[in-house]
Symmetry: C2
């Protein structure tokens, strides 16, 4: 099973826009067992026709994105018309659909010329309606090959790919419908480490795994025949990685997962940040509704600010600001000041320069509750920004393990 993708647009090869339509849909079809081949070309008719030929040589299914709008750069329809040697015709169904949408939105049903152009599609092709935008896509079949042309606007592409293209592909390859899908959100392992775990467990031949890393988390999607081996494999993955899997829901991140538990149990938190400089509070407050459990936080960058928060001067003098002891005092002090159930703190050396004779990448996360105040040491030499991000996630993971 093979599929070709073709993204068309000067904005892609010039770096103007990041190509995500094809990245995501290729990853999805890959996990369904397809070999995928991807081409990206600019807005040149000759280049588009060249790429269409290669795509046709590679596979029976060809999915194209971009160049269907109304500006002079949008030349996909013209290239396609030349490639298949057919004329462009105003498609009645597409025009009707556009009229209805316009009428529903504006009350008027006259379609301006600039939009009418978008209803010009190659003779013999079938329009693909666009729920989220204006330009319709179209589908052409020729010599057992199926070409889909969709707009490049991500939301439109995604909707039409899911609801039209993917549905047709599933019809064409009915065994796909019997596939089962399982998602794990993982924190604390790199893609490479996860891959090693999965290989050690033994990936069944019928199972495909796709990865979506988003530092410092990784989402893995396991797809396979719906049978006992599949479920056994997923169970084993879950068991082996139980310390790292924090959710089985694609839409989650660690801030949301922690937030849900805090809200459900009626707990509140506050934060005292040195190393992370606001990254931790920022991560917490990225979650809608966080004001219900996040009582507030302080960025205590200087020693004076730490002492004003409630860290004892002698602790800093004796152990330094980058220490277990300081992290503990910060977590406890902020918890007490904000009268919250939990306090989290971060202190360390963000770099690039050492601090108090301690190397960049050394840091501490403090945790405090009514019953317990403790701190954890970490060392990752991954640069300032990544250290801040990682430390913030570690703080939430520590909290998660305490409250779940």
């Amino acid at each position: 099973m093979r599929v070709s993708f073709l993204a068309i647009g000067e904005e892609i090869i010039s770096g103007f826009r990041e190509e995500k339509n094809i990245r995501n849909s290729s990853a999805y079809l890959y996990s369904l067992g397809f070999s995928t081949y991807i081409q990206l070309v600019g807005d040149k008719k000759e280049d588009i026709k060249f790429a269409l030929k290669q795509a046709e040589n590679f596979s029976d299914i060809i999915i194209c994105s971009g160049g269907l709008g109304s500006t002079e750069d949008d030349i996909t329809r013209f290239a396609v018309s030349e490639y298949f040697n057919v004329s462009l015709e105003e498609n009645k169904e597409a025009l009707e659909y556009m009229k209805e949408k316009l009428k529903a939105r504006t009350g008027k049903d006259n379609v301006p010329d600039i939009l009418k152009i978008q209803c010009l599609i190659p003779a013999g092709s079938k329009p693909i309606f666009n729920k989220s935008g204006s330009a319709p896509g179209f589908k052409i079949e020729k010599n057992q090959k199926i070409f889909y042309f969709l707009p490049g606007v991500p939301q439109e592409f995604s909707e039409m790919f899911q609801n039209f293209v993917l549905r047709e592909i599933k019809e064409k390859f009915p065994h796909i419908k019997s596939l089962e899908e399982k998602v794990f959100k993982i924190f604390g392992l790199t893609e490479t480490q996860i891959q090693k775990y999965l290989k050690d467990i033994g990936i069944p031949e019928s199972v495909k795994i796709s990865y979506l890393p988003s530092f410092p988390e990784v989402t893995i999607r396991i797809i396979g025949e719906k049978n006992e081996r599949f479920f056994q494999f997923c169970d084993k993955v879950k068991e082996e990685l139980k310390n790292f899997i924090y959710s089985e829901n694609d839409q989650d991140n660690i801030s949301k997962v922690v937030g849900k538990i805090l809200e459900k149990k009626g707990f509140s938190i506050s934060t005292a940040e040195s190393l992370t400089g606001g990254e931790l509070a920022n991560l917490i407050t990225d979650t809608p509704g966080s004001s219900k459990y996040f009582k507030g936080g302080e960025i205590v960058y200087s020693n004076e600010a730490k002492i004003r928060l409630g860290v004892r001067r002698e602790v800093i003098e004796k152990f330094g600001a980058v220490s277990y002891e300081c992290a503990e005092e910060m977590a406890k002090a902020v918890r007490e000041k904000y009268n919250s159930d939990f306090g989290l703190s971060t202190t360390g050396v963000a770099g690039p320069d050492p601090l108090e004779g301690k190397p960049p990448g050394l840091f501490y996360v403090g945790f405090s509750s009514k019953n317990e105040t403790t701190a954890f040491e970490f060392k990752f030499n991954i640069g300032r920004k990544y250290t801040k991000i990682l430390c913030s996630h570690l703080a939430l993971k520590i909290l998660l393990d305490k409250i779940k």
Copy 2:
């Protein structure tokens, strides 16, 4: 002038890793005036050979990335050997280079077998040394076509592309050397708005523009023949966009630019955040050395926390927490509490739900110095996360305009 790119790797088509090597180098060559064609394929010999053929058909220069490591997935060298019908040979120069690097690092110069594999390159090809990693690249010339094969590790690819491939391309197309490059870092306009400005100014035919958006900033790179028209155009762009260009240095972001001025002038700042929940302090502290001018900050999510900081209760009761008045009091209070030259504050409705009857996306940025305390209103309905990011950048832009 045409160039083909080929990224090889199952990790790319499966979404395991984002493809950036080719995105960036394609954008760069595009701005030098090349038509670029990009292919992405998995780790299958047949697919790689298929793609090499297309690349060769498209252009005289072919740049490939990935599959040169030592694991069983790394099959680029084998596919290439079949494609050109030549054997693989252990390259002495490459092995010698590897030995020296190992010796410098470990004191020993015996190369383990797993690394030796990487020195196997197609007979007749020329090794490209790898300063940042282990696997060498190689260059093959055949029938006036030049193929470059580089490792897929971003840092290694980038270094070898810049220092070897790009240098050779500049030799081959000497007029490139006469091109002039100008970079503008822009905040406050979308790519589309910038494009419109530039079109209105009139882009000379010999000038190419590439865009690198990174929300909410956009970097544009203007490249053209080094002549009066080029400089006039750049001057006009600078003049027209003067309210939006905050730097002409590729490596800058707004946090760095503000930081440099604060440090140079010996000013200090502190932050009081409601809406942004730590995003602003986080942005400030992403810059190395920020502890020199950032005195600290507070995330005053609740009204109680705002009052504890120093906002008068009656201000919140009369105007609400989402108001000019509250933003001003927050900025002033945090400046006084932290004894800093400037105070910045943010308050607003991050969403998705309204607050105090005010809609998501409405927010205020407060600014306070010894001489002036003021606030600015904004309304952007772009979702919670983007609102936080945008608001933080706006706060720094407001500060920048006050201190520059």
